[in-house]
Each structure stands twice: as C-alpha cells, then as structure tokens.
Symmetry: D2
C-alpha cells in the first residue's frame, strides 16, 4: 500500500469553509491542552502552516443547524450552493491548483425525510430551484456544490451527503469519484473486526450494547436527539449486516464535557456458545477522536486525488474500510474491506509501476470543518 503513488502531504494545500472560523492556532492549542495531545513545541512548529490555512478559511454560518430546526438563513438554497462554488473556485485560482478535493467534516445534521428528489437528479434540481429545504439538507447542498464544481467529494460525516441516487447520477455525468459515509475510528471499527469472529466461531451474539462518551463539539452536536439519529443508525446497522440475524444492539452516545477529545466507548457483548451457554466479552476503548480521525481524513483525500488523477469515477469502493456505512458496498467486515484496498493497490502497482515518475502536481483539499 505504501508504494502507491499517493500525493505527498507537502504538496497538498488546505483551505476551508467554517461556520465560526476562529483562529486555527488557538483552536489547536485548545485541543492540545485540553486533551494533552500536542506539546507546546509541536504547536509552535506548526503555527506558520496553520496561519496560512487560516487565511484560506471562509466563514459561512449557513451550515449551522439551529435550534428552530432550520439550517439556512435568509439566502435561498441556490444562493448557498453558488457561494460554496465561488469559495471553491476562488481557492483554486488563488493557489493555481490543479484539482480540488472536497472533504466534508461538518457536524451531524438531522436526516431529511426520504424524498423522490433524492433518487432522481431532475427532481433534485427542481428542489434546488424551488428552495425546498425539506429535501436538500446542508450536506446534500455541499455535495451538490462539489460535483457542480467538478470536485471529488469525501464524506467523513454521518450525513447523507452524496449518498443518494440523484447525486450518484450527477457524479457520473461529471465523471467524479466520491466516497463516504461516516468514518469509523473506534467502536464501530471494532464491531466490524470482532463480529465476524463470533460468526466464524459459531458463537451466537444475543446482545451487543455500546456506550460512547465524548466531550468535543461533535459530542455536543450529537447530544441533540435529532442530529444523532443518522450516526446511531449507522452504528446499529452494522451488526445485523455482519451477522445476518437480528441482534439486540443498543447504542448510546453521551456528551461528557470533561472528556474533551477523548472518546471513550464501552461495549458489552452477550453471546451463546455450545449448548447455549451464555458468555460475555466487554471492551473499553479510550482513543483521542481527532488523532484517530486525522490520518484517515488525509488518506481519503489522497485516495480521492489518486482516483481522480487516474480517471476513476463513481463510488470509491476501495475505501470501504474507512467507513461505517460505505457507499455502494455490502461487505461490512473490516478485513475483507481492507483486502479490497490492498487488491486495488496491487492492480495499480502491477499496471504501470509505482508511477513515481508522474510529474509533481499541485493538488489541494478543501475541508468544511
């Protein structure tokens, strides 16, 4: 995998759109000191880089989901999408970039009700024209803008984003690659690793209860019942898909401010062995959310750039092992998902050498935090 000609990190430019931009070095310092992850030495070393990115972050409060249950302010959806596109192209011109990858890192949003416009591109365009906010959630608007602007789209969030038929068609029309949804960094990752073992050993899982605690902004957003719905569904759906039988699988997500970025999950697995004897396994996962997520986000951007550079379009199924609910992939088990990634790399490596001689390009990632 390491031999694949992914774009080096130092050739990426980062910009973004944020609801409340703040100042990146301060935000990093706050995370570092509350979660005890970065030393002051490290923060000082990366300060110039963070300040450069700061200059490329634009403010757009329209993606904040407010308490009245509505995401957009005075502007119409059309205006919102147009402004997103303008942001992207401005960033591209400013740094003379060859290609932009849109990485969606926004907080969880309430799931919009299923609508015919989600399945059909024509209807989705009408919804955009009619400013139909019941149909077009902020993440859908962002995926729309990315695709209209010719950018591959990576959805790190539990939100729908590009995961609807209508946007699948738009991506195909515009020959764009995309992937998502909902990066798996802890509990769900472990479910997709452990559940296959129970199946292979004929140990029948009766109940699998999971409790997730976290104290960062993500946790705050998820303390809203409506907004955590999609995430919980993604987490709960994994088990029946893996085990092929119904399981009593509860998932709690609790906001515990003192934990900051330290996501702590406890899972309890109640299973039956030979002669129906009940047994238990439990685990506690104490991981730092941002630290687990960051390398996945970077690699997904690099995978999307690689796919785009090689003219690949449609859902990037090779990235299934990164997601709780991978688009266009049925396989939920982590190891076969990862083998697909290896196979993808092997095909590329076999095809034309490592491609190390492909001339360096400026590529860029634009992230909506």
């Amino acid at each position: 995998l390491c031999d694949l000609d992914l774009v080096p990190l130092d050739q990426l430019f980062f910009g973004g759109i944020d609801i409340c931009p703040g100042h990146l070095p301060e935000a990093a310092a706050a995370v570092g000191s509350s979660s005890r992850t970065f030393s002051r030495e490290m923060l000082e070393a990366i300060r110039p880089g963070l300040e450069a990115i700061d200059a490329d972050i634009e403010c757009d409060r329209d993606f904040e989901w407010n308490s009245r249950g509505s995401a957009y302010s005075a502007r119409t959806l059309n205006e919102v999408v147009d402004q997103l596109r303008a942001n992207i192209s401005r960033f591209k011109r400013r740094h003379d970039l060859k290609r932009i990858i849109v990485l969606d890192l926004a907080s969880a949003e309430p799931t919009p009700r299923a609508a015919p416009a989600h399945a059909e591109l024509r209807l989705l365009r009408e919804a955009l024209a009619n400013d139909d906010r019941q149909v077009i959630s902020p993440s859908i608007a962002r995926a729309l803008a990315a695709f209209m602007e010719g950018c591959p789209y990576v959805n790190f969030t539990p939100n729908l984003g590009a995961g609807i038929g209508a946007l699948e068609k738009l991506a195909a029309e515009n020959s764009l690659a995309y992937c998502g949804n909902d990066a798996k960094t802890g509990e769900t990752l472990l479910k997709t690793v452990l559940a296959p073992m129970f199946a292979m050993r004929n140990l029948h899982v009766m109940s699998w209860e999971g409790v997730n605690m976290l104290g960062n902004n993500d946790g705050r957003a998820l303390s809203d019942t409506e907004r955590r719905e999609a995430k919980i569904r993604n987490k709960e759906d994994v088990l029946p898909k893996l085990l092929k039988y119904p399981v009593h699988a509860g998932v709690d997500i609790n906001f515990v401010p003192s934990l900051g970025d330290w996501k702590t999950a406890w899972d309890f697995i109640h299973f039956k062995g030979f002669l129906d004897v009940p047994m238990t396994m439990q685990f506690t996962w104490q991981g730092c959310d941002s630290i687990l997520a960051a390398p996945l986000a970077l690699d997904l951007v690099r995978m999307a750039e690689f796919a785009a550079r090689h003219g690949e379009t449609g859902p990037m199924t090779q990235t299934a092992s990164f997601f709780k609910n991978p688009i266009a992939v049925e396989e939920m088990a982590f190891f076969p998902q990862f083998e697909n990634l290896i196979r993808y790399a092997e095909i590329h490596l076999a095809r034309g050498g490592s491609g190390r001689n492909i001339s360096a390009r400026k590529v860029s990632a634009i992230g909506d935090r």
Copy 2:
C-alpha cells in the same frame, strides 16, 4: 463450510485413556454444577452415552507429570508406547471401526530441551530404544504411538506432540495427517483477531498485557511454572509474528479455583496513534473453557477424518485458525487462516459435489483427556 461432507457426530465412537478415569457422568455433573453450564435434564439425557464411553476409557497413570519432574513409572518408554498402541487397536477391534483419530487433550507438560532426536527420526527411534526420557516427553510418546498405529493425530495441547521434524517424517512415511498445537479459545483468539487491525490502521502497539484466570484442572496444571512455559510461549509469540516488530507482551496465567471452568481474561493494549499520542484498549473475556473447546475438538476430529478419508497427509494447514501455534503455518492472523479453511472447503466442494452419497462409515475418535 457446512456443506462439506464431514462425518456426522452420531457416527463417531469415543474412547480414551485417562490418568485417573473417574466416572464420566459424575465428572460431567461436577463441571455442570460448579460452572452452571449443564442442566440436570441435559445430564440425564446424556448419561447413557457417557456410560458407554466410560467403558472404553482405560487407565494409564503414566502421563501424569509428578512433582519429582518425571512422567513415567517403572515401565520403559517402549512399554509405554506399546501399551498405548494396544489400547488403540483394542478399541478399534472392539467396535469394528474403520479409522481411529487420536486427539490429545492432556494437561500441559514441561517442554523437553531441544535435542537432535527431535529432528531426526532415526535418532528418535534410538531414544525410544534407549529409554531416553529427556528427549521423549509424554506428548511425543503419544504422537509416536498414534503414528505407529496408523492414526491421524490432533494435538489440542500446548505440548510438542507431533510438532517435531522426526515425527513429521514418520507421518509422511505412514501417510498420515496431523495438526496442532494449542487450541485458541479466548485471549489468543482475540489477539489474532485484533492485532491485524492495529497494524492495518497504523496504530503502533507498545504493550499488550494479558492476564488469564481459570480454576479447572488445566488451571491447576498451569500453576506449575515449568508446565505453563510452553503455553505462555505460544501466547507471547503470537504478537511479534502478527505485528512484525517487538512488543512488550506479558502473559500471566493465574489459578483461581473459585472460577472453575470460567476462564476470565483481561487484556490491556497500549498503543500510539498519529503524532505518537498514546491510547488504550482493554477487554475482558468471560468464557466457559470446556464449552468453547468442545466444538473445536469435535470439528478437528471430523476434519482429520475427512482428510484421512480423502488420502490427505502431512500437516493439516487448513486448520490453522483453530490453533495458537499452527504446525507448518506462518500466518498468525485469524481471518486469513479462516479464509484458508473456506478455500479448502470450496476446493473439495468443487471437486466432487458434497459427497453426501459416500456410504456411511464407522469412524471413531479416541481422546486422551
């Protein structure tokens, strides 16, 4: 896998050799009541079957490793092996069996020092003739007897058994299949499931500490430092092989009588993520040892019978997923091991149908408890 034409359980005959035979129904009742696994209804239902097996269990105290560090009594090794062979052939004749599978379920024994006779069959035969007890441990004697009597051999224990070059040659000479060592039912199983995930996610494991507690006879044997050596080595070797770098991996095995058959393991995994941030995972596994082991033992016997019936000889590498230290297999990760088993089954199924029409045979397993 289920379509493979393994011998049905009701066509197996069970016999055995035990150091202190006791009465099986009583032993089952004791396990059932202390570990609360079998109901009295179940015990009554299986009593006739257990009594029939009882009649086929012969007593041989020569495999007990006594406190003076020696396993055999007055008899020479030659006499010991001859008696084992006589036991096997007597059992075969008594029930007019087509084939005997020897399943080694003895307690852990001290590992004999490495000797040239382990590598070369001629020297091993000399050691047998010379009654060299430094070289031929009880498990080696049992594997020898099995192979000399023409029986496939399954080593469920951490002991050397057939896992030495000399016996490999004897098995080849006699065209016999065999497998081992050290069935994985709990902590080590989980290590071979979880460690690959840490590798695939570039999470560097710094320490992996495991504590195993159990209160059955196995636990009593393992409370002897010398006797647990092989088991601990098998448990510790797994991680560096899986991760390809040295890991601080301690394994404690503690005898806790009150737990009876309920093996309880706690593992603590200390790992580094992105930017070297240290994180932890811990799990507790509470499983009933016999209940987890029994179906593996049965399936290994059936796999060995299947291999023998199809003329397969040598190490049964398709069974690697059953063992902590699979003979002749480098791969330590559970999922690729299991895929090999699936592939083995697929090849057989593709070759000649499920073979369901192969006429029923009497096959039998003989276990040394």
Copy 3:
C-alpha cells in the same frame, strides 16, 4: 447485628397481591433456568413452600400501569384501597397472625406531579374521596391502605409510596414505622461507597457516567421513559449529595432481554487529582438482581417487625444503608449509614439483653410483588 432478636425466617408467613399471579413454582423455575441461579434440586425442595404462598396471593390488576397512562380500572380509588385492606385483613385472619408488614415490590410507576395533597393529610383524604388519580398513584394507594390497616410499610421501589408528608402524618397518627425508598443493590450501592473516598482524598470527580443493563420484568418496566424517571432521579441525586458539588452524572438504564436477571452495570469515573491531572476509574458489576435484592427485602421486613414489636414509629432511619433515597435521612454515604444501623443494634442489645426470651410470635409479611 446478628445478636439482635429479629424474627426468624421460619416464623414468617408470606402472602401477597399480584397483577398477574401466575404460579410461583413455575416463576421460580423460569428465573432459575434463565439466570442459572437455582438448581432443580433447590426448586424441588422449596416447591411446597412456594405452593403454600401461592394460595395466599390474590390477583388485582389495578396496579398495572397501562399504555394509556392510567393505573386504575373501573373502580374508584376508594374501592381500590378498601379491597387492599380487605386482602390484608383476610390474610391476617386466615393464619391468625399477630402483625402484618406490607412490603412494596411493585414495578416503577410514573411519578405523579407534586401536589398540596402530598403534604397535607386532610387534602390527601379529599383526593381519595374525589377519586383524584393525578394525586394518588398506585404506590401511594398501597401505603395508604397499609397505614389505614395498621401495618408498617417497607417501600423497596423507586415509587413515592409513604415518602410524602401526608402519609408521614398518617403513620404518626397510627403509630406505625415505615421505610424506603428504592433499595440499592448494585451501581448506586457502589456510588455511595466509592464517592466518599474521592472526597476524602481530594480527588475532584468531573464526570460519573453509569450504564445499567437488565433483562427482567423490572428492566421491561424501566424501558418506559416515564416509569424510569423516579429511578434515574434517585440514582443521579446521590452524587451531588455525597460530593457537595455539581457533577456531570449521567445514568442510562437499558433493557437487554438476553441478560434476564443478570444486572450488568458499567460506571466510568473521570476525576482530577493534584495539579488537575485527569484520571479515570471504571468498574463493571455483574450481579443477579433477585439474588441481591431478596436478602435485603427479608431483612427489611424483619427490621420493620422488630421496630413495631418495640413500639418504634416513624421513618426507620436505621435502615438508610438499604436505600438509594432513604426517607428522612440526609446522609448518603454507605458507611456512616451502616454505622447507624450498628449503633441502633447496640442500643437495643445494651438495653435489655438480646430479648431472646421474648415469647415466639407469629408474624407475617405481605408483599405486593
């Protein structure tokens, strides 16, 4: 404590009122086999005793809280209370009992809104006369009936029961002892043991998150949001009272049918030490709910009988260590609560010898399961 002249178990008669009486031996067998607690031998030994009790259990569906949010059927509150009283006195006459202790073991009920009638006995009597079901919840009705019938009352449940000012006055008028609420058998017991240690060591608790899972009828009742309200409040209130500062203390109660009677709780405690360094403690408690509760229920009945026999009236504050929310007691820490119990016993022992020569009496407990 053991020297206190509590009534021996074999001098107690048990009867009861149940919403769906079933057959006790079958109920015991079901619990025993699903939770693997009772052996068949034990069940057979106690069958005659259970059948005798069965004959003294009367059916009254009026305490079931139905989905329409109302507890009483066609009858008025007055009729309900009268029937309860009739049940009690019939039981007393049938066995020629000296004294009845009413033990409330019903499921959680929605907490009635606070009302002036809870504080004042005259108003409570009016509410009874006016059939005001907003004010008189089933547990209040049961406590009323007990007190009107001259019986001490033990409230094992999270429901209000006798814990309102109006009933305090009625108990005083009738010279009756009573205690409650909400027996502590697991997580909350541990909170009242551990939290004082954090305080005494100046370790500042930032968050204390608890998850409770259980699969019995209690668990089923508590899966109703309205009905678990009182229980969660009792569980949450404990920490701020113990620590004297606000703590982020979440409590989840999840219904996990496969666990049956095995209540499993996981608690995560996030605390700060010297120099504000954050640390964690977590525990898992795997206890059998009925097995933990039964001896507490029996001892409370015996304590109530003892108090009544010695002419003690009012809240039995000596039993505070049994309850999550002890009536008329501010102290929440387990050890000082238990010391009060010891002191109570010492005073009695000092006063008149162990009273062993007090002539044997027939005493009885009547339990609403």
Copy 4:
C-alpha cells in the same frame, strides 16, 4: 480537617539524598512529557524552586540495591549512618531550620530476614557496630539515622523502615513521632474501601485478583522478585484482615515501560451472594502515580511536623488512612481510618483553637527519593 494548623507549604524547605541525583528540572520535564502531566508553562514556573532544591540534594549511592544482592559499598554501616546524619544536620544548619522531617521515598528493597535485633534496641546497636548487613537494611539505616538525629520519620515505602520494635524504642527514647508503611494510592486504597462493603452486605468474597502495571522507576525496581516481596505482602495482607476469612487473593505487579507514570490496575472480585450464587465485580484504575502520591507525601510531612510541634511521640496512628500497612494499627478499612483522622483533628481544634497565632516557624522536610 482544613482548619488544622498545619504548616503552610511555602514555609517548608526541601532537601534530600539521592542515589543518582540528576537535575530536578530535567527530571520533572521528563516525567511531565512522558506522562503528559505538566505543561511546559508549569515547568517553567517551578524551575527556580526546583533548582533551589537541587542545591540541597546530596548524592549517596549506598542505598542502591545492586544485582549482587548487597546495598552498601566499601563503607561500614556506621559510616553510612553517620554520613546520613551529617547530611541532615548540614541541611538544617544551612537554612537555619527549626525541625527536620525525614521522608523516606526510596525504592522497594528486599526484606531482611526476621532477626532478634529487629525487636531489641541493644541488639540493633550491636548489629550496627558489627556491620551486620543481614540485619540492617538500607531503610532501617535511614530510620536509625533520622531518630539518632532527633527527626520524625515518615516511611512512604513498603520497606521495614521504623516498623520494628527496636526502632519503636529508639523513637520513644528520643520522643519522636513516626509513621508508615507503604502509602496507598490506587488498588490497595480501593480494596480498603470496597472490601468492607462486601462484608457489610454479607457477600462472601471467594477470590480477589489484582494486576498492577506501571512503567516508572518504581516499576523497574518492582520487576525484581526479591524487591517486590514486601509490597506484594502488604497488598495481599489487607484482604484477610478486612474480611476475617481466608480469600484467594493474588497480586501481580508487572513492569510495562510504555505506561511511564500511569499506574494501571485491574481487579477482579469473585463473590457469592444469597443461595451461593457467584457474581463478579471488576474495576480498572488508571492513575498517575506521582500525582496521586505527591499530595499524600506533603500532607504526611505536615502531619509529622504538627505532631512534633505539639509534643506527640510514637506511631502516628491518625495517619493510618494513608498507608497499606499502618504501624500499630489493626483497622484496615479506609473509612474508620479516616474517621480517626477527623477525630484527631477535632480534638486538636477543640483543645485550643486552631492555633493560628502560633508564631511562624521555619520547618523542613528532607526526602530520600
């Protein structure tokens, strides 16, 4: 407790004797960065203070227990003790201190075999004169030096120190207060909190297995079997003393370098409830060793100074709650121990006001790290 007139921290002078003095600010920085406890800001703020202490730390390698099983170099025991006394008096003169408290913080040492000289002061003096190293371990030598120099002595370590009859007499002769042994900061603290609860609830503890992992210098010393003997005995003795019946109580201490100062303990408690139903509790404690120990060490020094100032001599039984194996105290339960401390404070407060008007004094602590 807070109203007690303990000496304020800013009136303490710190000096010490160390086997490998190093440079304190660097040592603090190393601990801070490896265990992520101190920020660089804090380290910079305390640098001048640490440097001042550095100047008062003298080097004496004689307390290092080397691999050949002997602690003292070329010097005789007499020379060793004399040098210790000289160190103390030099420090006292240099800062014109009123009183020195000797705080023993050395690593675990092998326990010397019981000898008559431990019981009788005359024999101990003879052993000192005869340079009998079998009898006088380094901690005994340190306690001797403290008492001969007229200093109260606090033994934070598992070593014998002043906990022998001979030194008890010397302390009495010299009218000195002292306390120890083996501060409890994690697992054992919890044992002394939890075990009484099991007793009070009649839950019979069958097994209590504890695993301790740590990676600091203490952990390194304890990875030596001989040296951890005393500590393990202190940890194991606690339970039978608390429960009054024999318990299967194993304690493992494992050196896990990656953990640094983060002491992680897992305890597993197997207990029987009503009808002998077996249940379990387990907990994981993740605490920072130095951070938990430091405030205890400071408070013990202040308690010793307070005792000395008020003319109290002999074992400071009021400090029992600080220790695993408190000298001259039978009570092992944490809460009654703490109550004794409260009572001690109340007596002092009742006696003469808080004594706040006692003129400020220079007091000092000298620690052997």
